[in-house]
Amino acid sequence: MGVVLRNLQKVVPLRRARLRRDVVTLRHILGIQKFDLGIICVDNQKMQQINHIYRKKNTPTDVLSFPFYEDLRPGKLPCPLHRDELNLGDIFLGVEFVMKQCQEESLDLHGALTVVTAHGICHLLGYRHETEEEWTEMQQRENYILSEYSRLTGRHLDPLMKRCSQDR
């Protein structure tokens, strides 16, 4: 199946091909090409709704991850027995939320979406940031991903300054 990309919003003009290309690059860096992945782009209203339902936080956010495998050791790839388990899960991208951040910080939207997606994929692979130790481990992994991305594409991406503790 690969990467299933859905755009459920009309607030942000999205470049689907660019987003897909970047997600493919991220999958290659992490060695997860054989796993299916869902990327769903939503607006603030939808994001707030999902955040409220699943995290009891009635506010929009930049990314929400819904892992297929809930108890992975950080960075350890799952070993599925069946083809229908070749799935990492779904990532909801709060594109409107990210766009507002980009406008405030003069950042490229699609670059920022790639960074946020990388963060979301790390969550699908078991990374957390509940404790200081977990945060450091996740940040190191993300830095590696972004430096590899830069090496492969020639495009430099900075990690987002504010790490939202709002996402999963």
Partner: protein
């Protein structure tokens, strides 16, 4: 000439159409003298069905058939038209943002827009556009209509607002659809190609916003046409 009412009521369709045509042909041979003198002056004596349903009860002098059933039908239609007009949000059609111009030809609508010298045309027909299980009180919303065969995805919550189904090269203008042109079906399409096609459309103003506004427009057109049809039907039933 006598208008033909083409009904489309399940299996009675063909029979109803034939009956109306026959009736019209028959009545055209009769004159007032024939009717009131039992056709004595002409050698032609048409045989009408003798069912109670067809017994004329009112003569308005038009030579047409008017039954109690027709009167009840006409009264029903008056009420229907009144109700539908009440539901109608606006008499005028909603605008589609982005500089699109609308042309109507009966139930067919054409939206056109120029983008840097390139002409983009979106055509759709509101006929047969109400899905059978999609009915809210007093209002029916259409499926997304098509130019590039875009259609509404399944699963309201997590599918794209619109999707591309098929892509092909076709002759310009109103020429016949060329069946021999390669038709790309997106069911088994490379997704990167699909995304490029979606970006291509978005650059020309066909995006999620457009799709939403198109639904509003096509719903309003369909409703307008339905009311017009009811009014035509009322006129036909009252005096054909």
């Amino acid at each position: 000439g006598t208008r033909q009412l083409l009904t489309c009521v399940s299996c009675c369709c063909v029979m109803a159409t034939v009956w109306f045509k026959h009736c019209a042909k028959v009545l055209s041979h009769l004159t007032f003298k024939d009717i009131f003198n039992n056709g004595a002056s002409s050698g032609y004596r048409p045989k009408l069905f003798s069912s109670k349903l067809l017994s004329p009860s009112v003569s308005c002098g038009c030579g047409g058939l008017h039954t109690e059933g027709d009167k009840a039908f006409g009264d029903f239609l008056s009420d229907e038209i009144k109700e539908e007009k009440k539901i109608q949000k606006n008499k005028s059609l909603p605008k589609v943002s982005g500089g699109w111009e609308l042309e109507m030809n009966g139930t067919e609508a054409k939206l056109t827009r120029s983008v840097s010298g390139e002409k983009v045309t979106v055509t759709f027909n509101v006929n047969n556009s109400i899905p059978p299980n999609f009915e809210e009180e007093g209002e029916q919303t259409q499926q997304k209509p098509a130019e590039e065969e875009v259609s509404h995805g399944e699963g309201e919550e997590e599918s794209d607002i619109f999707a591309i189904r098929e892509v092909s090269f076709q002759p310009q203008g109103d020429s016949e659809w060329k069946e021999t042109s390669y038709n790309l079906n997106t069911d088994s399409l490379d997704w990167a190609l699909y995304d490029h096609l979606m970006d291509f459309l978005a650059d020309r103003g066909v995006d999620n916003t457009f799709a939403d506004e198109l639904t509003e427009l096509s719903t309003a057109i369909e409703h307008q046409e339905y009311i017009k049809f009811l009014e035509d039907l009322q006129g036909f039933v009252k005096c054909n």
